[in-house]
């Protein structure tokens, strides 16, 4: 009796250890290695949100999980990767928190819940391909932009479509509730809502829809995943200014975010982040965008 119990205990311990080992196996080396900075006394004003976060040593960041190149979490990865995540790492490091440690919680935010999460304080910052709009600025703080992108079209490799103009009255897939889908409709195409961008790509691959459309950067990522079957065509037909979202309750964060972004533009961190995620052999690294003034 005792013997079997001991055996069961050994087996259970072994199983637990092997499961723990599985958890560690997902280590991903993609992206730039960002080191936490030393925060000396008085760097952040007493009582500011930044000082609170630096003091607590913990931060929650809202990112997307389904946009290759910007914010994407692989099923096997522990942390998401992409340009949004790289910029978030720079901000986190400035607070003296190690971006690759458990002190950073990467919360998935979808398009609909970015403002509610910020308002409720469930996330401290949102970097989730968050385009800056006046409407959103009424309820949350947004600053940046740290990236300016435009929308293009992804079609199957043997298609003769050359841009959005060829798709008038045709179905074009994009994610339900996204600005991309609105822009598609505004251009005269018929929007076909989907849950994720990969679902759209699947629909283009199997011919259910002619084309899909969203930020060029994401499309390049999808085309790279399905090389030889999909291609990105056409000029950019919209301009999205991707910025950082913060809560209106802590307006002091705006200056700090702009400061960190400005610094990364100057010391080359921004460029390195771009090249590690959105860049490629035939992608030219753009000039860093001009930041908005804080109110």
């Amino acid at each position: 009796m005792r013997f079997t119990r001991t055996k069961a205990l050994v087996a259970a311990t072994g199983l637990a250890l092997s499961l723990a080992a599985c958890g560690d196996a997902g280590e991903d080396s993609e992206g730039v290695d960002v080191q936490a900075e030393e925060v000396e006394e008085g760097k952040f004003e007493e009582g500011s949100r930044m000082a609170e976060l630096a003091e607590a040593g913990e931060i929650t960041i809202g990112v997307k999980y389904d946009q290759p190149g910007l914010g994407f979490k692989d099923a096997s990865a522990d942390v998401p990767s992409g340009f949004d995540v790289e910029i978030a790492k720079l901000l986190v490091a400035d607070l003296g928190i190690d971006p690759s440690s458990d002190a950073v919680t990467w919360e998935e935010t979808i398009s609909d819940n970015r403002e509610p999460y910020l308002e409720a304080g469930r996330v401290d910052l949102v970097l989730a391909s968050y385009s800056i709009t006046d409407e959103r600025r009424q309820i949350v703080g947004q600053t940046g932009p740290y990236l300016i992108t435009g929308q293009q079209v992804l079609v199957s490799a043997d298609s003769d479509i050359t841009g959005i103009a060829d798709l008038e009255g045709e179905e074009v897939c994009s994610v339900s509730g996204s600005t991309s889908l609105e822009n598609v409709e505004a251009e005269g195409a018929v929007g076909a809502p989907a849950d994720t961008y990969s679902q759209c790509a699947e629909d283009v691959l199997n011919g259910s829809v002619e084309a899909m459309s969203t930020d060029g950067a994401i499309l390049l990522g999808l085309a790279a995943q399905n090389e030889g079957e999909l291609k990105v065509v056409g000029e950019e037909f919209s301009e999205e200014r991707i910025g950082v979202g913060y809560s209106l309750e802590s307006p002091e964060m705006c200056e700090w975010i702009n400061g960190v972004l400005e610094e990364s533009f100057e010391n080359g961190d921004w460029e390195a982040a771009f090249q590690a995620t959105l860049g490629g052999d035939d992608v030219e690294t753009p000039e860093p965008p001009a930041l908005d003034e804080c109110a």
Binding site: D112, I139, E171, E182, P193, D203, N206, G207, S208, V209
Partner: protein
């Protein structure tokens, strides 16, 4: 409120899609479900087994999986609906719409079948025996005697099934049909300050639609009570 009123044409179009999804799959699922119920109580054991296998498999599969099968898996194995392309004004019934209708029909038919079978069980055995005695074949027994009575007894469960179908159409909003749910998400994205109003308006329209359905079911029940 402004968000909805400014985009009234888009909202109306969205609810048109919702209603079309509901009406087409509703009618088709009633037809398919009735046929399945007839098979399940019929005399041919192979068909009886086939119909009950259908109900078991489809009823135990989540709707989303059924829809994803017709929308994404089926085109991979060459089963697509690209031949469908009907257009009335702004409303387009295309391959994506058809795939969703097929998925909703297949799913709902299993529930319709069971609702009608419960109605059939409510018809006294003597009725079927009497119909047999005057020489009606199985189809005649079902069509002339059993099903008319069974439908009356199944109105309440059928109404529930159809109400569920009306609400299930929202799943198509994530699979290529720009119906009410997808439109609501779009408006939510555009008008971040008016989320609650937008949500309430869409919820209210759904409540009204379901109330209309309940009212019709209620009338049918009353009308057929004594006949």
């Amino acid at each position: 409120m402004d968000a909805v009123l400014d985009n009234l044409d888009a909202v109306v179009r969205a609810f048109t899609y919702t209603l079309l999804l509901f009406l087409i799959s509703g009618v088709l699922s009633l037809v398919l479900g009735t046929a399945l119920a007839a098979l399940r109580v019929g005399p041919v054991s192979v068909l009886r087994l086939a119909a009950s296998a259908y109900v078991t498999i489809v009823r135990n599969t989540p709707l989303l999986i059924v829809l994803i099968f017709f929308r994404i898996a089926a085109p991979k194995i060459g089963l697509n609906f690209n031949f469908v392309d009907v257009q009335f004004g702004d409303i387009r019934l295309n391959n994506l719409f058809t795939a969703c209708v097929v998925g909703l029909t297949v799913y709902t038919a299993a529930f319709v079948c069971e609702a009608i079978r419960s109605g059939i069980n409510a018809v006294q055995l003597g009725q079927a025996e009497a119909a047999r005695a005057i020489g009606l074949p199985f189809a005649g027994v079902m069509r002339e005697v059993v099903l008319p009575q069974a439908f009356r007894a199944s109105v309440p469960p059928l109404a529930s099934v159809q109400i569920a179908l009306l609400k299930n159409t929202t799943v198509a909003g994530a699979l290529g049909v720009f119906e009410a749910f997808a439109r609501m998400r779009s408006l939510n994205n555009d008008y971040a300050t008016q989320r609650i109003e937008i949500f309430l308006v869409f919820a209210f329209v759904f409540v009204v639609l379901v109330e209309v359905l309940s009212f019709i079911a209620n009338r049918l029940e009353r009308r057929w009570r004594i006949a």
